[in-house]
Symmetry: C2
Subunit: 382 residues, 2 copies
C-alpha cells in the first residue's frame, strides 16, 4: 500500500452555507459564475449566490447541459480569456462543475481545449474555481476529475488534474428540496457505483479503505430504503455527504480501482443519452457476473458486510443479485432499452466507440476486452 | 449538521516514502529537524531523513520528551528565531509532532509560548512544518492540534490552530518495525479512544460520520485481535492509516464531541506520568458507566455495529464491558495503580488540577462536573 493523498478543498457544509462564498473569495476576484439550464433561478440558489457576491465584480455564463459539451463550454473559455476572469464559480451538479473544470483548464491553454481530454495537452495551470453544489451525485465538488463530451463526435472522455480541484465547495442540503425524485435516485446510484469501482476489485488487505467503502455502501443502501424520508433535512444531508465521500479520493487511496462500468456506461450515455447513473446500473450487474472470478473474494466480503448475507454457498452470485435488487427496489432499470431495434448494431457501436477511445482492456486487470464487452452488453441490452 | 472542513496536509504513505521529503520541501528552505530521544538514530530513520535532506540547509534539535514540555521546546523556539529557520521538520510520534507545532507557533510570537496554551495568545501565524511519523497513534501528523506540558506546574494543555497543521506527512509503516509492543498497543488504544470521543455522544443521525467511526473501531479491534500479525507489512500499514484517520477531523465533522476522557486522562499523565493511551483506558470505562444515560443510544449502536452484540437487554452496559474486555485482551489495565497509597488524595489532586484548568463541566453536555469526576475516579483508581 503506497500512495500520495491530499484533499485541499475547503468544505462549507450545511444549511445557509451559500453565504460563505463571500468570505471564501478574494475581494479582488473577477468572477465568472457558470450554471446550467436555469433551475437555480427557480429554486432560489441563484438569488442566494447573487446576494453572497454583492460587491464583487462578476459575470455569468449559463446553459451548460447535462453531460456538458466542449462546444458549449468553449464559449465560456472565451469569456474567461477576454474578460480577464480570475475565478470561476460553478453553481450546479456534476455536469456544471465538470464543465467548469474544463473551462478553468482550457482558459489557460492556447490550443483546442479538447486536447486536454485526449491527453495531447497536460494541464499545468488553471483558473482557480469554487463550487456550489446543487445535486449530490458525482463528488466533483471536491475532486480533481471531470468528464466532458464532444457533441460533434459523441466522444465522452475524462481528465484528471490537481489544478482543477475546487478551492472550496459549498454543500447546502436545502438546495435538494426542489430536485425531482429521479435525480435523487440517480445520485444514490451514481455514488454507489463510485464506491463499487474502488472496492469490488481484488482483495488488498486495506482494512480502512474497505471498511470506509462498506460504510458508504451501507449508508447509501439505507438512504435508498428510506427514500420515503427524502424530504427530511437528515436524509438530504446524509445523501449529500455520502455522495461527496464516495469520490473524493479517500477510499481509493492505495487500492486498485476498476472503472470499467463507467467507461462502458459513458458510451451508452454518449450514444443514446441514457442518464449517467442509469447507464451504470445497466452495465454493472452484467459486468460483475462476467468478471466474477476476479472479484469473487470482494463480492463475498460485500455480501456479508453490506447486505448481511449468510452462508458461503454462491455468495458472490447472491451479492450481485442483491445489488441488482437494490437498483430495482428504487425503480432503476438494469437493462438498456433506448438503443432502438437492432441489438447487434448497438453492441457494435459501443465496442467501436471504446476502440476509438483506446479502451480495449478495462478493469484493474485489463480483463475486459472487446470480447468481454460483447458478453456484458449481450446481457445488459434488452 | 453544519460544518467547515478541509484537510490540506499532503500525505505520502507507504514504504520508502521518507525520500519524498526531498520534493516536498522548497529548495531554499532552512530547516530545523526536531526529534526525540534518539531512537531514530538506531532504527535508520535519521539516516533516511538526512539522505533526503542532502543539499538542503538544515540543523537539528533533539531531546523532545514524551509529553513534551514547554521548557524543552522553548530551546528550539530560540533556534528558530536566532537561525532564521523557515521550515520545521518533525521526525517522531505525537509528542515530537505536537512539540514541533508549539515551536512553530511560539517562534512567531514575541511573548511566552505558554500563552498559546492558556489562550492568552491566539495563534495567527506559524513557521511552516512537515512531519515524518514514527509512531502511529495521535493523528497529529495531519491535524491542527497539539498537547503540551509545563513541567514546572504539571499543567498539560491543548491548543488548536490551522496554522500549525503540517504541510505534509510522511507515513512509512516500516518505521514501526523497531517499536516495542507496548507502543503499538498504546497506538491502538489511543486511536480507539480518539474515535470514541467523536462517536459515543448523543445520537445525531449523521450516517456517514457514524459508519466511518464504526469502520475505524472495527479495524482497530481486528488489529488488536490480530496482534500476533504485528510484524507484517499489512498489519503495520493498517494501524498507521487507521490511527491517522481517527483524528484528522473527518469523522468529527458536524457532530458533537466529548473529550472528557482525554481531559481527565491528561491529568493522570501530568501527575503520575501514566502513558497517554493508558490514562485513557483507565478513565474511559468508568466515565462511560457514569454517563451512560446520555450515551445509551450510541453505546447500543456501537454494541451492535462494532461488537456484533445481540439483543436489547442491558446492551449499553454490555458494550462498555466489551470495551473494557478489549483493553484487557491486549493487557491494557483499566485501573490506575501509579498514584501511591492515598486514593482520596489522588482524586482530590486530579479534581484540583482540572479546576485550575477551568475544566469543571466536561463532555458535550457539560455533564461531567467535579462531582462526576470524583465518582469516575473512585471507580477508576485501585
Amino acid at each position: 500500500m503506497k500512495f500520495s493523498y491530499s484533499n485541499p478543498t475547503q468544505i462549507f457544509f450545511g444549511q445557509g452555507q451559500i453565504s460563505a462564498i463571500t468570505r471564501a473569495l478574494d475581494p479582488q476576484a473577477k468572477v465568472l459564475v457558470i450554471y446550467g439550464g436555469g433551475s437555480i433561478k427557480k429554486n432560489g440558489v441563484y438569488d442566494q449566490v447573487a446576494s453572497a457576491l454583492k460587491g464583487f465584480d462578476w459575470v455569468e455564463f449559463s446553459g451548460v447541459e447535462p453531460n456538458p459539451t466542449k462546444e458549449t463550454l468553449d464559449k465560456a473559455v472565451l469569456i474567461v480569456k477576454q474578460q480577464q476572469i480570475n475565478f470561476i464559480l460553478a453553481v450546479g451538479g456534476g455536469s456544471v462543475i465538470d464543465g467548469s473544470k474544463y473551462v478553468a483548464a482550457a482558459a489557460q491553454y492556447e490550443g483546442d481545449g479538447w486536447d486536454i481530454l485526449t491527453g495531447k495537452h497536460q494541464v499545468n495551470s488553471a483558473t482557480p474555481l469554487g463550487a456550489v453544489l446543487t445535486l449530490p451525485a458525482t463528488g466533483s465538488e471536491s475532486n480533481s476529475g471531470a468528464v466532458i463530451t464532444k457533441a460533434e463526435t459523441q466522444d465522452k472522455l475524462a481528465f484528471l488534474s490537481p489544478y482543477v480541484q475546487p478551492k472550496f465547495a459549498v454543500m447546502d442540503p436545502d438546495v435538494m428540496k426542489t430536485l425531482p425524485e429521479k435525480q435523487l435516485l440517480n445520485g444514490i446510484v451514481d455514488a454507489w457505483v463510485h464506491v463499487c469501482e474502488q472496492y469490488i476489485t481484488r482483495p488488498t488487505g486495506a482494512m480502512v479503505q474497505d471498511a470506509y467503502a462498506e460504510a458508504l455502501l451501507k449508508t447509501l443502501k439505507k438512504l435508498g430504503e428510506r427514500f420515503a424520508d427524502r424530504d427530511s433535512d437528515e436524509w438530504r444531508a446524509n445523501l449529500m455527504w455520502a455522495a461527496n465521500q464516495a469520490l473524493n479520493g479517500l477510499i481509493g487511496s492505495g487500492v486498485p480501482q476498476d472503472w470499467a462500468t463507467h467507461m462502458i456506461g459513458h458510451e451508452l450515455t454518449a450514444l443514446w443519452h441514457v442518464d449517467h447513473a442509469r447507464s451504470l446500473a445497466i452495465v454493472q450487474p452484467s459486468l460483475l457476473r462476467n468478471q466474477i472470478e476476479f472479484k469473487r473474494a470482494k463480492l463475498e466480503q460485500m455480501g456479508r458486510e453490506v447486505f448481511a448475507l449468510q452462508g458461503d454457498e454462491q455468495l458472490a452470485e447472491r451479492t450481485i443479485n442483491a445489488i441488482e435488487a437494490f437498483y430495482h427496489s428504487m425503480g432503476v432499470a438494469t437493462q438498456l432499452t433506448e438503443h432502438g431495434d437492432d441489438k447487434e448494431a448497438a453492441i457494435d457501436a459501443v465496442i467501436s466507440q471504446l476502440n476509438n477511445h483506446g479502451m480495449v482492456a478495462l478493469t484493474e486487470n485489463q480483463s475486459v476486452t472487446p470480447t468481454e464487452v460483447k458478453q456484458i452488453l449481450t446481457a445488459a441490452i434488452a
